[in-house]
């Protein structure tokens, strides 16, 4: 499973795309968020971050798999 990174997350995590290990067994958005916070504790300093699945904001229960376009959305600041 891969996760697209943007803005501050890209900088904090030092990569453009986060590749999750095959054995990470992440089934939904909540598990993905926990895995990220565990691996990259500095992400816990952000105001918050969201996960988008197939270009839509996804809630914690949304299932995730390697077939989807998954993105980490740090606090937005357009406009």
């Amino acid at each position: 499973m891969e996760v697209l990174l943007f803005g501050i997350s890209k900088e904090l995590m030092g990569q453009q795309v986060l590749s999750l290990p095959v054995d990470s067994k992440i089934a939904n958005v909540l598990e993905l968020k926990r895995w990220i916070l565990n691996q990259y504790p500095e992400m816990g300093n952000l105001n918050s971050f969201a996960i988008a699945v197939d270009q839509e904001y996804a809630d914690d229960e949304t299932p995730v798999s390697g077939n989807q376009e998954i993105a980490l959305i740090p606090p937005v600041s357009g406009g």
Binding site: G7, I8, E11, N47, P74, V76, G78
Partner: protein, 137 residues
């Protein structure tokens, strides 16, 4: 009719021409510029990054919500990405309606929601550091 785009540079003449509608009595334009200061410090330049396909989808959703709520003849949302200098327009929201009240309300809704939901990120360059806006408490 609506027009939603992400661009390198905003052309205000094109924006106004596109919003012209003989049935519209009022056009409201909101133009967001690069300010020269933030938190009391001088901003040198800004950089905008976007998750383009999702940003366009979110903008389309906001436009659809606004068109359901107000009788809008024309609706335009344009956001610039990349590096921007002080004074350059970075976002333009435009609505053309028969009655001005609707144009004001719809434009206000669109810019407020854009700032809340659309996956675009602003990085401010100060003389001594850079800051991703809104990222930290």
């Amino acid at each position: 009719m609506k027009k939603i785009t992400l661009v390198d540079q905003i052309n205000l003449n094109e924006v106004y021409s596109w919003l012209q509608d003989p049935a519209a009595g009022g056009i409201n334009l909101f133009i967001g510029n690069v300010r020269n200061h933030a938190q009391g410090k001088a901003v040198v330049k800004l950089e905008f990054e976007g998750y383009k396909p999702m940003a366009l989808r979110e903008m389309e959703k906001l436009a659809a919500a606004a068109m359901e709520k107000w009788p809008i003849k024309k609706l335009l949302m344009v956001h610039a990405l990349g590096s921007k200098q002080i004074g350059e327009p970075v976002v333009v929201i435009g609505t053309a309606t028969a009655h001005r009240k609707d144009a004001f309300e719809a434009s206000r809704f669109l810019i407020d929601e854009l700032k809340n939901k659309v996956p675009i990120w602003k990085k401010e360059y100060f003389a001594d550091q850079t800051v991703w806006v809104n990222a930290h408490p």
